[in-house]
Every structure is written in structure tokens, then in C-alpha cells.
């Protein structure tokens, strides 16, 4: 509807005589007792008393008179008869709380009453333990003004190209371009920036990467078809993530993590200095990534296995476990440091929780830690670490429609391997505080909290001491992904003897849809990044720097895959 038709509710003229004395309190009481009964007694009272005074029925759109104690049904016109006879012109509908005026012969919307109604509804939901529910967006005064002063509207049809824009390669910057394409097509991130939600906290606003992202979104959704030149973005990246500066080809995954980190810091107004991961590593004598190279830190958590910095919080005698924060040790900087429970948009969208359970083989006590993560790095078959078997005695279960024995490695195979129980071996005994001695243990990773956007990083760049190569093993990945089998809760169910959930999972919480894929073509020494992004639910486009072409779903799913971006299908309120 056009902005001109939006009406701020003035109610009707007949409300004047109602809004006198203590009307607000009285109205609230009516809402609490007869419309949204939050407490058990209120519900009981409503059930007993809210019946039509004429026919005794409680259905048929029951209304309560606002001037006296009378309930009448609407469908049979019993409330109408009462209104006419007593000249009580206002009534309230008991299911949804709407106010009906018999003189206007319609429901009326008064701003003051709407506010009271909403408050009482929220109170009742809270009392019932329902929490917050979805309510449609309503513009604020300022937003209405903006809409009036900017009458130009853009209609999004299924074949319009708004949101698609090429990016000029500024000299081996395809690694950056791909990530920008993925981010600008992340639905929640797009909505955040297009609804102008960023308030800059940086002291020098010209250096804020979040502000630059905001302008980037404006560029992408402007409708311009010419490729965009992201020179300002590149400059900001060089300033804030110095290990990525220079015209050499960098790793797209590294760029993603660095970009998310800078965005996350800038959301809080923190200025990041050059204390980048690259510099930290230089101090340890590890070389910086060469063209398309990758540091290949361990998958998760932040500490390498068997490190002395890994400590037990203590094991209880039985299957009990306790959570604790992992002590800061030899942090490879791979995972985001999230000490202040930041609630910035980056954390809301990308941060998940990875649970690590270390079980002592002697006393079976478990020590649990939960670490935040922005992405999951998955080992591939063909690397120097053996891929198969996934774990001793693992069943070839059918999950996500893929079969174990087909020969092609699947994404779910990689995830199963990632969440397998792993014997840490006799050379990596851990001091168990339950046993007060060094014992062998098993470690297992599971997902505690899933992020809204899950990014999977297939570790194609092997960069060990002797070997530097790219692993080109084809890994098939699905369009829709169910993360339920990899959840910490599923693991607990299995341990408690509950059988595996049926294939059609009952809960929708863990279902994801693919929306972006970043691919790398070429070798370790020289290569090129391209990406596929999803538009309008079922259309895919290939982004090759400045060139955007339509792609089929088969092109996407057959591609090699380096970074896979999945978006939760269903979002829940907290």
C-alpha cells in the first residue's frame, strides 16, 4: 500500500465519552480478566463467566460491553441488541481485543487503546511463559516522515536484478570480492543494513568498516548495473587487517574471518591496531601465507591437542560435567575472542557455540567447554591426516539423503568426522583431577549452539612442514542441510540409549539452506576465486569479479566448494 494510505489511528468520535475518569485502569482490568488471561485464576474466571448472556454460548465472536457487565455474541447479534437497548455503543471482542463501535458499525483503532492492548497482551504472554511473539512491523514517526519525503519506490519482481552487482578486481582481490558477494547476499545482514540499523561508535567515522559495509549494501541494492569499484573497502581492510595488505593473492577464508573480526570490533567502536594474526605468527617463526596458501590451524578448539595448556576443570565421579571457559593459551587466533558477550549483528548472525567433551578413560568423568566459533573447518580425504574410518565402530547411517558407501565424500561425512569421538592416545595423556593422575582420554566435538549462518570451510590448502598443495577431492554438499545429528543434544540422546531420530526430523530448528558458495580454481601458487550466490530463493548467479551470470543449481552443487554458506531456515525468538 502507498504511504498516503497509512492512517495513524485516531479512533472514532464516539470514544470521547468513554475516555473519562479512570478509563485506562478499567480497560486494563477488562483486558486482563476477559481477553488475555495470563494467570490461572484469570483463565478460570474467563472460562466460567465469558458466555453469552442471551444464549449461553461462548463461541460466535463473543464481545463484552464496555459500559456494563454484559457478554453477548456477535454472530447472533445478541451484543447488538444490548447496545441498542441500553445505548451502550462500545464493545470489546474477547478473542483478539478489538474495540467495536455500534454507531460507526465497525472496529475502531484508537492509539491510546492500542498501546494498552499491546502491553496487556505482552504481560499475559509473559505470565503464560510464551515470551515474545511475532508482531508485524509498524513504522515509527520518523520512518513515516522519511517515507513521505522519499516517495520513490522500487518493486521487487522475481526477475529483477537488484542486489546483483559485479566487483572490479583491483589486483588479485578476487578473494575479497567473493566474500563481499556472500555477505551482501546474507539475508539477515542485508536486512540489517538496508533498514539502516548501524549507529557508528567509532571515534573516526571514516575508518569504520561497518559504515563502509553499509554503503556497500547501498551500492549493491541501488539498481546500478555497472560493476562497483570497492577501493574504499580494500583500503580499510589494509588498514585494519595488515596481514592481508598488499597485492598478492590472499586466502578467502582468512579474509572472511578477518572481515568478521573487524566488523565485530567496529560495531563496538573498538579500533583495531595492526596486532593481527599475521604479526603474531611472525613472532613464532611461521611464515605468512603465500599466494592462495593457508595456515591450516587445527579445526577447533583454539588449542592444539595434547597441549600442556589444556587443563581439566575437574571430573566428577560419574557422567557429570561442568562448563568452563578454556584458559587462554596458545591461541592461533582462529576463533573469535568473544569475552564480553557481544550482541552485535555479526555475533547474532555468525556466532555459534562448539562443545568439546573430554572423557577420562578411567573414571569416565567428562570435562566440557564451550567455545564460540564463526566457521567450521573440515578436514578432507586426501590430506596427510587419515580421513577414513570416521571413528571406531561408526555406523554408516543415512542422514540428509546421502549414502555412506557411495564413494563420494559428502559434507555430512566431513561433519561426522568432525564430531567423532577421538582417542587422544597414550602420548597425550591428560591430568585428570578426578583420578589425580595422567590418564588417557577421548575427545569429542559437537554443536552446542548453531549460528544463524553456518560457514563451512573445506580445508583444501595443505600447508604442513613438508608438503604444500591443494586438495582437489570432490566433496558433495547438499542444498538443504540438517544439523541435528551433530548437535550436543543429539549426542546426549544417543548416550542415554535413545534411538536415533527418524529421518524426517520433527524439529525445524536445525535445518539450513545453502545460499552462497566460494570456489577456488587453480593451484596453490596461482588461482582465482569465484562465487555462487542465491537470489530470490531459487535463482543462482555466478560472480566472477565484474561478471555476473545466471547459473543453474547443478552448476552450484557440482562445483568443487571451498567455503559453503548455509542460512537457518527457521528463526526463533529468544
Amino acid at each position: 500500500m502507498d504511504a498516503e494510505l497509512v492512517v495513524t489511528p485516531p479512533g472514532c468520535a464516539h470514544l470521547g465519552s468513554f475516555k473519562v475518569d479512570n478509563w485506562k485502569q478499567n480497560l486494563r482490568a477488562i483486558y486482563q480478566c476477559f481477553v488475555w488471561s495470563g494467570s490461572a485464576e484469570a483463565r478460570k474466571r474467563k472460562a466460567k463467566s465469558c458466555v453469552c448472556h442471551v444464549c449461553g454460548v461462548h463461541l460466535n465472536r463473543l464481545h463484552s460491553c464496555l459500559h456494563c457487565v454484559f457478554f453477548g455474541c456477535f454472530t447472533k447479534k445478541h451484543i447488538h441488541e444490548h447496545a441498542k437497548a441500553k445505548r451502550h455503543n462500545l464493545a470489546i471482542e474477547l478473542m483478539y481485543g478489538g474495540i467495536y463501535c455500534f454507531l460507526c458499525q465497525d472496529y475502531i483503532y484508537d492509539k491510546d487503546i492500542e498501546i494498552i492492548a499491546k502491553e496487556e497482551q505482552r504481560k499475559a504472554w509473559k505470565m503464560q511463559g510464551v515470551g515474545e511473539k511475532f508482531s508485524t512491523w509498524e513504522p515509527t514517526k520518523r520512518e513515516l516522515e522519511l517515507l513521505k519525503h522519499n516517495p520513490k519506490r522500487r518493486k521487487i519482481t522475481s526477475n529483477c536484478t537488484i542486489g546483483l552487482r559485479g566487483l572490479i578486481n583491483l589486483g588479485n582481490t578476487c578473494f575479497m570480492n567473493c566474500i563481499v558477494q556472500a555477505l551482501t547476499h546474507t539475508p539477515l545482514l542485508r536486512d540489517f543494513f538496508l533498514s539502516d540499523r548501524h549507529r557508528c561508535e567509532m571515534q573516526s567515522p571514516g575508518s569504520c568498516l561497518v559504515c563502509e559495509m553499509s554503503s556497500l549494501f547501498q551500492e549493491f541494492y541501488s539498481g546500478h548495473r555497472s560493476p562497483h569499484i570497492p577501493y574504499k573497502l580494500l583500503h580499510l581492510v589494509w588498514t585494519h587487517a595488515r596481514h592481508l595488505a598488499g597485492y598478492e593473492q590472499q586466502d578467502a577464508h582468512e579474509f572472511l574471518i578477518a572481515a568478521l573480526d573487524v566488523l565485530h570490533r567496529h560495531c563496538k567502536g573498538e579500533h583495531c591496531t595492526g596486532r593481527s594474526k599475521g604479526e603474531k605468527l611472525k613472532a613464532h617463526g611461521v611464515s605468512l601465507p603465500r599466494p592462495c596458501g593457508n595456515l591450516d590451524p587445527p579445526a577447533a578448539p583454539a588449542l592444539p591437542l595434547g597441549s600442556a595448556a589444556w587443563q581439566w576443570a575437574g571430573c566428577l565421579g560419574g557422567p557429570g560435567s561442568q562448563s568452563h571457559r578454556l584458559l587462554p593459551g596458545d591461541d592461533n587466533g582462529k576463533k573469535a575472542n568473544n569475552p564480553n558477550h557481544c550482541n552485535c549483528i555479526i555475533d547474532q548472525i555468525f556466532t555459534g557455540g562448539l562443545q568439546s567433551d573430554v572423557t577420562c578413560q578411567v573414571c569416565h568423568g567428562v570435562s566440557t567447554t564451550i567455545d564460540p566459533f564463526w566457521d567450521i573447518s573440515l578436514d578432507l580425504p586426501g590430506s596427510s591426516t587419515p580421513f577414513w574410518p570416521l571413528s571406531p565402530g561408526s555406523e554408516g547411517s543415512v542422514v540428509n539423503g546421502e549414502s555412506h558407501a557411495s564413494g563420494t565424500t559428502t559434507l555430512t561425512d566431513c561433519l561426522r568426522r568432525f564430531t567423532r569421538p577421538e582417542h587422544l592416545g597414550s602420548s597425550a595423556k591428560i591430568k585428570c583431577s578426578g583420578c589425580h593422575s595422567y590418564q588417557e582420554s577421548t575427545k569429542q566435538l559437537t554443536m552446542k549452539k548453531l549460528p544463524i549462518v553456518a560457514c563451512f570451510h573445506l580445508k583444501r590448502f595443505e600447508h604442513s612442514a613438508k608438503l604444500r598443495r591443494k586438495i582437489t577431492t570432490y566433496v558433495s554438499f547438499p542444498l538443504e542441510l540438517d544439523m541435528t545429528p551433530f548437535m550436543a543434544s543429539s549426542k546426549e540422546n544417543r548416550m542415554n540409549g535413545q534411538y536415533q531420530q527418524p529421518v524426517d526430523s520433527l524439529s525445524n530448528d536445525n535445518k539450513y539452506s545453502l545460499f552462497a558458495v566460494v570456489n577456488h580454481q587453480g593451484t596453490l601458487e596461482s588461482g582465482h576465486y569465484t562465487s555462487f550466490i542465491r537470489q530470490h530463493k531459487d535463482q543462482w548467479f555466478k560472480c566472477d569479479d565484474a561478471i555476473i551470470t545466471k547459473a543453474g543449481i547443478a552448476d552450484v552443487l557440482d562445483s568443487e566448494g571451498y567455503l559453503l554458506f548455509y542460512h537457518k531456515q527457521f528463526l526463533e525468538y529468544e
Partner: protein, 92 residues
């Protein structure tokens, strides 16, 4: 008291089951776009009749036939799996 409790035990599960199915049905109707289609139909009616003149009852009269006529495409089995879920919940 005992009779009360008996009645409650007999009726409550059915009520809860009904609510579960209702919720699931609501979600499915939103998912498959039925609610959105009806909403745009409402907007058309309002545009036609004019915002000042249309009443809630006009809208109800207009969209009630359309509610049942609109094609709704989702499998019925999710509704029954909703009941399965409810049974799982009560049995644990």
C-alpha cells in the same frame, strides 16, 4: 475431587493435542503462502472499497469464500507427525 482429576486427565490430553495440531496447521498455512495470499486479497478489497468505507465485516464476507477456495499445498503427513511429536512428549 477424584472425579475432577479423572475428568481432567481424560480431557486435557485431547485439548493439548488439539492445540498442537492447530499450531502446526497455522505454521504450515503461513509457510505455504496461504496467509500472505489472503492478506494481499484483503489489501485489494480495501483499495477497491476505499479505506474510509470498508468495514471488518466487509472483509470477512469477502475473504471467507476465498479461504477455502485457495489451493493449499502441503502434505497432510506433517499434521499427523505433529501428533506423533505430541505422543513422544507425553511418553517421556
Amino acid at each position: 475431587m477424584n472425579k475432577d482429576a479423572q475428568m481432567r486427565a481424560a480431557i486435557n490430553p485431547k485439548l493439548i493435542e488439539r492445540e498442537c495440531v492447530k499450531e502446526l496447521l497455522r505454521a504450515k498455512l503461513i509457510e505455504c503462502g496461504w496467509k500472505d495470499q489472503l492478506k494481499s486479497h484483503c489489501k485489494e478489497v480495501i483499495k477497491e472499497k476505499g479505506l474510509e468505507h470498508v468495514t471488518v465485516d466487509d472483509l470477512v464476507a469477502e475473504i471467507t469464500p476465498k479461504c477455502r477456495a485457495l489451493p493449499v499445498s502441503f502434505r497432510l503427513s506433517p499434521v499427523t507427525s505433529g501428533m506423533k511429536r505430541y505422543r513422544l512428549l507425553t511418553e517421556t
